[in-house]
Amino acid sequence: MNLKHLFVAILLTVVLPSYLLRAQDDSTTTLDAAYTRPFITNIGSSSTAIGGYLEGNTNYFAEDGISEGLSMELRRFNVFLFSTIGQRIRFLAELEFEHGTEEIALETAQLDLEIDPALVLRGGIVLVPIGANNVNHDSPRWEFIERPLVATEIIPSTLSEIGFGLNGNLAFDRWVLAYDAYLLNGLQNDVILNSEGRTWLQAGKSEELLAEDNNGEPAFSAKLALRQRDYGEVGLSFYRGVYNSFEREGEAIDDARSLSIFAIDVATEIEKARIHAEFAFNAIDIPANLDELYGDAQWGGYVEVTYPILESPLFGFENASLLAGLRLERIDYNVGSFAATGRNRGDEIDALAFSLSFRPSADAVIRANYSHHWITDLLGNPSIKRAGFQFGFASYF
């Protein structure tokens, strides 16, 4: 063995392995990968928080004299996970268990990279910025147990999708301007021809929504919110995407059909009365042969006023309050009239709700609600009346 061969042998048997071991933090191998994750190796130096909320209700409803009686439910058990990864990278996730374990959904799993407060890159499973309720819907925040109809039937809340985009806040004087803009997979096929028998955006949230786009055409959603610190906030938002699978194996099998949502939301406070309102308008491209049976235009809106009738220590809770609320709402699933008769297409709901809620603290609420719905079918026949009481609690933890 000459000197050159000796050098190579030493390099291979001693120097290179020791170098590689040092490169892997000395004592670990790839078999230790599970325990070399940053959340373990950074114990003591990172900032991670776990939280969530719990919501349970008792419901008693009757529809045209028929009631299913009292029913109790654990409607939501949501777990939040938040972590800062370095100074300007943060992660937020929300895992939702609905009605016990009947529905389990990863509602949010997003990573933020903050270039500047006015420019944050966000990717992952994001809450789509359409309307106000879709991104601000945690049960403990609201005095009404049911979300507004416009936020569930016209805007398909909770709508969270795979996507990426930008958001940011610009603050100046008494004003704050915020924006969100994302590219998303988009709602999918069952927007029409679903088991509801109407155009229903909720049905477009298929199981594959978070896995794969059904048509390769990304949807786009954006929101602009302007807040004046003394008067309140107004938001304008938009969503548009192709919802049907119009190609298969590269072959066109249908026309590409899109849907659009426009929303405006307002939040303000007059004296102590908190006022929330949201209106949304949908435009859906429907095949001509399904016109009238499935609506190509929808709209809905609500106005809600809550007022603290008592703010005082109560039952030993130092920051307790008692609030009364009123909500008025209306939705129309199928805007337009019948060509054959000229009469208005129905498929509408008018609703009225009252609330009385007790907040032992700002993060927990015990609520009693009464609501009454007047439901008109597509043909415009006499309304079905549905009304009931709800009693429930919701709290962050």
């Binding site: 004299g65 088991s195 609030l323 129905g346």
Partner: protein, 433 residues
Amino acid sequence: MNSDNSTGSADNYPFQQYCPARRRPVTINFLCLLLLIVPILLLPSCDSILPSAPASEDVLAEPVEDLSPEQLALHISGDIEFARVFGAADGLGPVFVAASCESCHVGDGKGHPLTTLTRFGRLADGVWDPMPDFGGPQLQQRAIDGFAPEMIPAHATGVTRLMPPAVTGLGYLELVPDETLLALADPDDADGDGISGVAQYVDPPDYFQPQPGSIPIDGRYIGRFGKKAGAIDLLQQVVNAYKNDMGITSDFEIDDLFNPQAGGNTVDEVADPEVPASTVHSVVFYIRTLKVPPRRDADNPEVLAGEEVFKRINCSGCHTPVLQTGPSDIEALANVEIYPFTDLLLHDMGAELNDAYIDVGEEPGEWRTPPLWGLGLAADSQGGRMFLMHDGRAATLTEAILLHGGEAAASRAAFQALSASEQNQLLRFLESL
């Protein structure tokens, strides 16, 4: 207002503070407690502010009385299936007219132009062709995504539109013995009253089971359901509706619809059958056990006088007021007197109602006498106005009466000759049905 830089987004944890601390007297605490508890205490006694059921006489969708618990449970199962809306993923289509039974028969009542059925065919050299090569005889004018709906072929010679009927009371009509219908028939007008009811004889489908007392001719049985009496029993009617109205296959009709005009056997991808026999049977049972349409104001003097006018001008020559059911496996339906105002027979209704369409083998101007029971509730399922006659062309009872020609021409003329008060009495009577 808050002084932070956030807007109403999910970033605002925790919730803004509602509650500045201020001391209140203890009595206010109790008042608040009371305000919170009162709604809870109201829960068991809240009937007065919860919607009550409409009066039984104002609704069609109720079961017959005296069903056993087992029968009631099956009725409810059938009700759920009747209301079930099919989506594309459930097998709807690929071509169809409506997505559920309920959408054509809202509240079990009459239908609306939105869901009228269209049927077509061609008469050439005296031979009727239902045009199956063009998707006939029934048009499916709607289609699921990626499929083309059917069109009426340009060379069709007969096209008719059929308004969905109410489905209540049909279980009773199914039980009227053939013998009764044949006794009412007068094909050669032997009594000389100008009315010659004819029984429609129909080739039964493979799954047909004749009932005791059936009187077939050459393997054909009396049809009694449909505008042209083209269905022998409710099972046939329901199976046909699943397939031809909704594009839903069943154990009885396993082959899916397709649009021949689009070429090929282009069916949907949902495995067949899309509903099992048990589902079809539950819907049949539901319809069989729907109550007789209720009367309102039956004892009102104007209504009673109108009933006499109805008989005097011989509307009752076709709209037979009283029939009797035969034996049944459902005791509540067996051997009872009913008031459907139909003879279930075919009658020539004149040129104005002749759509040049043939369903089974009848003359194109012949229509089965529709039951009049439930007539007064028609508008409650038709969107607040009435669509009467076979295609819904009449918006009022008077318009409907005046469209009666052919065998009913004499009654129409008699109606026109009535005084205004007698006409009004007749209309009051019809509204009470």
